[in-house]
Symmetry: C3
Subunit: 348 residues, 3 copies
């Protein structure tokens, strides 16, 4: 990551929009949190519930919404979506720089691989026959690109990323350490009590602008491909089963598991630790709460949740025991209704 | 993976059994899905619920059961277990080939390691003293075999597999990238608020024909060994705690965690995302549904489930709040029963 | 790990305390389990529920509490906390040895990195500019230390550990294979349906005496640091989100996920497979049961649980369906109460 700036508030607003209130000449060199920002740093307020931090901040300026504008006398930028504005501002001050090109002598690159002249390949990398690495790509130390793998322009692999043969990654991908793309899907047929492995002949196709977190795994398809569309963001330690399709601009938080052949729509937000069963279809614009298990398809946008509420261990144990006898409780209520109705009639 | 064929339907049936219906001379070069199979490809129908795909398929032939035989006029192979048949057929068309033997000059192999002449060791691999690598084994780039590790014949390690000292893997193992075998179990004794690490002196013993998915971890035992028996199939991102034993031909789907000292029987099927607590015993032929938490031993074969059903967030919130007050609700029902009984008696 | 001894029971008690009962001259060379310990090995009894194993053991001696002292005639050491005693005894017999120093010629060490003369760096390691490696540190094969990373004295990295730039690890750390420290936190702002990545400018600061299990990931902070305090023990496949703080001497079992900005207190014990949502505060001395989802802050020490109890699939399905209609059931009970009250009044 590089550094850029400093910029005045006025210069920032020219580039990114928004309206300056207070001294437009204040110089900003970095972003910071309300709690720890120092002289020369700009913080942001995303919600009025953090207003007390705004009062106490040492930041030189703040990004906030018009409804919060009057809460501070600090120089500020007023805009509609302070969090997104702050993201763009942080990227402006901390731009991603293209890598210093070059192939490390301790990398093993097959003669039949095509590596762009502007790409960088670090020590210990192995690139097999027929792989192609686009312009300004950086391949981190110890990573592996199998036969026929394609990496789009401006992609970055951190150290120890593994991509099995024939998987294709789009432009501007960001793959973190420990990511494994294209391992075999879990395809086994049971034959008389033993498991016969089904060769996994499909690949993985990943669109543009996709980020994949550390130690996340995306399996190759059994017959057809596993597909991750443009703009998808996957956090750490996610498992994507074979033949899944994840729609464009969907974000999935860490530790979520998605079983095979499930199709997730566009613009979905899946909370961390969720479990999504196989062969389901989830439509666009669905939010799944953290740690929720999705066991059937979802056809309507909305927010879906299913988590056993935690409690003191003793209270939980009592209630959990009753959950196992809910059918009996419901039966007793039905019987009470019948008896009371009979009584009411008899007395009537 | 290699390619073999093409074969006529008649040749396939001679090798794998089943009965041909329709033109037995049709040439088959590859398997495919009903939806995307093309000329020269054979698909399969595993369940009548996909019969509409059968009608629309462009496959040249189909594998199906006798109950589905009349649903298509395509050349077909009729058999008892179409999915298992298809698995065997796919393996026949896409056979696993032995690796091209050789030790890459950028591998670090200790002089005291024994590597079979037919084995292949790729760049960046480190093999320590006393390790042994069997016939036709392939060790993928960047993998690590600690002191005394033994790999059985025909095993394959994809890139970046780590096996700690003294762990033993059987024949025909398939270990995917990011697998870690033999890291220390989580053994800590609490002494006055601080944790004392207990040296993990056991190993890991893995049988024949075991497949282990990407980024799965199997810890070494504390005093005795952790054991994975023959034919076990583990999907990605599974955690197997120290001193577990997993019985032969059990399959476990991705993201499941198994705490220490638990014994799982033979021929079990554990769904993805399950959590199995420590020091339990699960008998043979148990099925655990996805995302279910197993908190006590299971003595009877069968299917076990425990998942909070998901719902619209609002409905969930209302019901979840009531779950936390189930004991009170049950008490109110009991009181109603008492009062109604008193009333009925009083009126009687 | 080294070996030390053998020692007599008397010598052991001199070093570690406790009281010897029976022959103090018995020679002990190793620890073992009650079930498998052989001649010359010492086992331990942590709970009276394992007393039958004590009767059957072939161990030469046993560590136990005074309440169990009379259950065996074997030579024994009587102490208050047999499990902690056993841990210390196992460490005495199996001490951690400092590594054999040296930099492997196939390691890539930047000229600006500072490596202590007593440290060991294995093959395939990459250490970037400005990194520092303390005395007696061992860096396992294929590990990566980014720019400015600091590793404290006596730390050990097993093979394939990745530490991104500028993260700091204390003394006596133990990091297992596949660990990734300092990957980007999952910080994205949504702007008109697309995700804008927020540069992750913080680092990770890890205290002394921390152990981190295989394939666990600890993300770097967005603006400020992610912090793991002294003596924390993390098992395998844990995800720690950006800007979390985990208090000293807290232990977390495998497969647990902790979302961003959550603060966990000191001396907590978090069960395996737990899910802890973001922006929460959990006080000191909290125990969270395995597979429990923590969805709000916890202010009181204690044990907290929330797991759907598993059952035969059919019973579960019936009860789970009723969980989704609990609100209606509660409404029916309320109505019954009203009607019965009316009846009782009317009859009164």
């Amino acid at each position: 990551m590089g550094r850029s700036g400093p910029f005045t508030l006025a210069e920032i607003a020219v580039r990114l929009g928004g309206r300056v209130a207070g001294n437009p000449g204040i110089l900003i060199r970095q972003v910071g949190s309300l709690e720890r920002a120092a002289e020369g740093e700009i913080a942001f307020l995303s919600s009025l519930k953090y207003r007390s931090r705004l009062v106490a901040t040492n930041a030189s300026a703040v990004v906030l919404s018009s409804e919060a504008e009057a809460l501070t006398a600090l120089p500020r930028i007023v805009c509609d979506n302070p969090y997104a504005y702050f993201a763009r501002l942080s990227r402006m001050l901390n731009p991603s720089l293209p890598p210093v090109p070059g192939l490390h002598p301790a990398a093993q690159i097959s003669p039949g691989a095509r590596i762009a002249a502007s790409a960088r390949v670090d020590a210990g990398v192995v690139i097999e026959e027929g792989a192609s690495v686009g312009e300004r790509v950086a391949v981190g130390a110890g990573s592996f690109l199998g036969t026929g793998v394609a990496l789009g322009d401006d992609s970055r692999l951190y150290p120890s990323v593994t991509i099995y043969r024939d998987c294709r990654i789009g432009a501007r991908a960001l793959l973190h350490s420990g990511v494994v793309i294209g391992a075999d899907g879990f395809g086994m047929a049971n034959d008389g009590g033993q498991w016969i492995k089904i060769p996994q002949l499909g690949g993985v196709v990943i669109g543009d602008d996709v980020e994949i977190g550390a130690n996340t795994t995306v399996d190759r398809g059994a017959l057809d491909d596993t597909v991750i569309e443009d703009g998808v963001k996957l956090d750490n330690q996610i498992q994507v089963g074979h033949n899944c399709r994840i729609g464009a601009h969907t974000a999935i938080a860490g530790c979520t598991g998605i079983a095979g052949s499930t199709v997730i729509g566009r613009h979905c937000a899946i909370g961390g630790g969720a479990g999504i069963l196989g062969h389901l279809t989830i439509c666009d614009h669905v939010t799944v709460s953290a740690c929720t298990v999705i066991s059937r398809s979802i056809r309507q946008p909305g927010t879906y949740t299913g988590v056993f509420p935690f409690d003191h261990n003793k209270a939980w144990a009592r209630n959990a025991a009753l959950v196992r006898h809910l059918a009996e409780l419901a039966e007793r209520v039905r019987e009470l209704e019948n008896r009371l109705r009979a009584k009411e009639k008899g007395d009537g």
